[in-house]
């Protein structure tokens, strides 16, 4: 048959993307957006809308108006699709704007007081109002890390044990434990602070890094337990069965097969917990307070931390102290991001990834 013969001759086919948007169409779209942007700018001058937020609203409204306008040429289905597209895109932009604004603000306001000494010096002999190249937040960074380390050391074993309980042991209290762990995620941070203040601080007779770390642990435990459970749940039952079928006891299977499989995932759990609590302020104001100098001893009295440092700098209320507060925020945010990126990379490396995907 001739058609078959022709098909056979097509040995060098050009790859084509018939569904791709053409260059001219893209340019047209870009030009349209530019026009709308200018129109929105004009609108901010002529109407009560003002500033960037006003401009954004005007821009979105114009977009919407245009879509509804051209939509009259389309069928009902296309019209709905087009309007939905603009509405959803607008909502998404609005959802992302505050957080981008925060990022920009923290960087713009925070870079002022950054200098190498900021990370290694303390405020023992300098005031928040000194020139920005004097003093630093080294003590606060160290304090935060110490307290977070304490929280991790306390939480990680408990969280992992809880995770193992919920997935491997599955005792009679499984439902209750899961429920309580989820409920604990809702303990307001100030309440956790009050609790540790009344128990640990009162009984030790002093504020301390340990107390701060324990307050953070209360807040971190639910995150770690839940993530640990989620991660352990991802381990296919085959793997456990294989362990048992080799004549292994449950504890050896859990410790030697299941846990190593999710090592990366558990590290992620811990890091997510750390990222969650490293910025907590309210509980630390009640448990570890603040100090001007480096404190390495977690039971030796008040300890500075980044959040309390930021808070104190902000409350000091001068131009320079405010700049220091923002720089502290920048460092804090950088730390959170750092932990997050580590968690991400570990998560990606996770041996379970393949299994998890296969399941989908």
């Amino acid at each position: 048959m001739s058609t078959v013969a022709n098909a056979g001759q097509l040995t060098t086919a050009e790859p084509r993307r018939p569904w791709a948007v053409s260059r001219s169409k893209r340019l047209l779209g870009f030009g349209r957006m530019l026009t709308f942007a200018v129109a929105a700018f004009v609108a901010t001058i002529l109407t009560p809308l003002a500033n960037f937020d006003g401009w954004a609203v005007a821009f979105l409204l114009i977009n919407l108006a245009w879509v509804i306008g051209i939509a009259s040429k389309l069928g009902a289905k296309e019209r709905r699709d087009a309007v939905l597209r603009v509405v959803i895109t607008s909502l998404a932009v609005l959802a992302f704007v505050p957080w981008l604004s925060i990022l920009v603000t923290v960087i713009l306001k925070g870079y002022r007081a950054v200098y190498p000494g900021y990370f290694i010096s303390d405020m023992r002999t300098s005031t928040p109002d000194d020139e920005l190249n004097i003093g630093g937040a080294g003590h606060a960074i160290v304090g935060s890390l110490i307290m977070v380390a304490i929280a991790t050391v306390v939480t990680l074993p408990l969280g992992i044990l809880t995770g193992i309980y919920l997935t491997e042991v599955r005792g009679r209290l499984t439902f209750l434990v899961r429920f309580i762990v989820q409920s604990m995620a809702g303990v307001p941070s100030v309440v956790a602070g009050l609790f540790i203040f009344a128990t640990v601080v009162k009984s030790m007779g002093q504020y301390s890094g340990l107390a701060g770390g324990l307050a953070l642990a209360v807040l971190m435990l639910p995150t770690v337990s839940r993530t640990a459970e989620e991660v352990l749940k991802l381990v296919p039952d085959d793997i456990r069965s294989a362990g048992y079928a080799l004549g292994a006891r449950q504890w050896r299977t859990a410790l030697l097969v299941v846990l190593p499989t999710v090592r990366a995932g558990l590290s992620t759990a811990a890091i997510l917990g750390v990222a969650r609590v490293i910025g907590e302020t309210a509980p630390l104001l009640l448990t570890s307070l603040n100090t001007n100098g480096f404190v390495w001893n977690p039971i030796g009295g008040t300890v500075a931390s980044l959040p309390t440092y930021i808070f104190a700098m902000f409350m000091y209320g001068t131009e320079y102290s405010n700049a220091r507060a923002w720089t502290g925020s920048l460092v804090l945010l950088a730390l959170v991001f750092f932990f997050f990126i580590i968690a991400r990379r570990l998560g990606n490396k996770s041996a379970l990834k393949a299994n998890a995907n296969r399941r989908k």
Partner: protein
């Protein structure tokens, strides 16, 4: 229904290691339940030593349930129950004093989907059973080579024993799982549709491996595939269900089952008239 027996023509043979003498594996009037659901009814079977027994039958007839009863994997399903007895070397593995971990050490299992331990290397995977069951072995290198060779994988992986078990192809992974089961020197190896997730090429390799294994140990394999059953097994047992619990229709030498079965349903099934 008459009780079917497969009689062994070989005497119990000596096994290596500290495990007790292998006399044989047989079930007597075994039933299985999942909660209220009666899944398997009254199966009595004796497995000849150093042979391959294929368990065949349509889906849902209780083959997998049955095979999991043989090394006490059945009990991991909550609400599971059973009746009857499974005799390993003459003693009931469900007797209260029996330690399931010890049973499983003697009766190994290979699963439907290859499941090497993802966090371990190929070498560690092979040695996993020894580590997990806390066995004392000093000749690790030897065991690795021997088991991988028996599983037909040694040539392919000998240069990358430190690679992750997950880096192998599906067929290789399944052979790795077989090697892993062999390392603890089981007397019986259960295989629950070991090739159903594999391509035809890999399936062929595994089947060769199974045949070689049967020279030393007893293999029981569940399979959906008639050709596979006829290719690898020495004996066959045919299971069926009429909507109620699964039961054993007949068991005999494979050749007889495929050429001249006693029961007409067996004939229909092996000829592909239903299933």
């Amino acid at each position: 229904m008459t009780q079917t027996q497969i009689t062994t023509n070989q005497s119990a043979n000596q096994q290596n290691g500290e495990t007790s003498k292998f006399i044989g594996l047989e079930t007597q009037g075994v039933h299985a339940w999942f909660g209220k659901h009666h899944a398997l009814s009254n199966v009595s079977l004796r497995f000849p030593e150093r042979t391959v027994t294929g368990l065949i039958g349509p889906s849902g007839c209780g083959k997998s349930t049955f095979i999991r009863l043989l090394n006490r994997m059945h009990e991991f399903i909550p609400s599971a129950a059973m009746a009857g007895s499974v005799l390993l070397n003459g003693s009931d593995i469900y007797a209260p004093e029996e330690d399931p971990a010890m049973i499983r050490l003697k009766v190994g299992m290979v699963f439907q989907k290859p499941n090497p331990f993802p966090a371990m290397t190929i070498r560690e995977n092979v040695l996993a059973g020894i580590k997990l069951a806390h066995l004392k072995r000093s000749n690790h290198d030897e065991i690795v080579e021997q088991c991988l060779t028996r599983a037909g994988l040694w040539k392919e992986v000998k240069d990358r024993l430190q690679a992750s078990g997950g880096s192998l192809s599906g067929g290789q992974q399944q052979r790795l799982c077989i090697a892993r089961s062999l390392a603890v020197e089981p007397q019986v190896l259960l295989m629950d549709e070991p090739c159903s997730a594999l391509d035809p090429g890999s399936t062929l390799r595994i089947e060769e491996t199974i045949k070689e294994l049967a020279e030393k140990i007893t293999v029981i394999i569940v399979t959906h595939n008639m050709q596979q059953a006829s290719r690898v097994s020495d004996h066959c047992a045919f299971f069926l269900t009429d909507g109620g619990p699964g039961y054993l229709v007949e068991a005999d030498a494979t050749r007889k089952m495929f050429t001249n079965p006693t029961d007409s349903r067996t004939a229909d099934y092996v000829q592909g008239k239903f299933g």
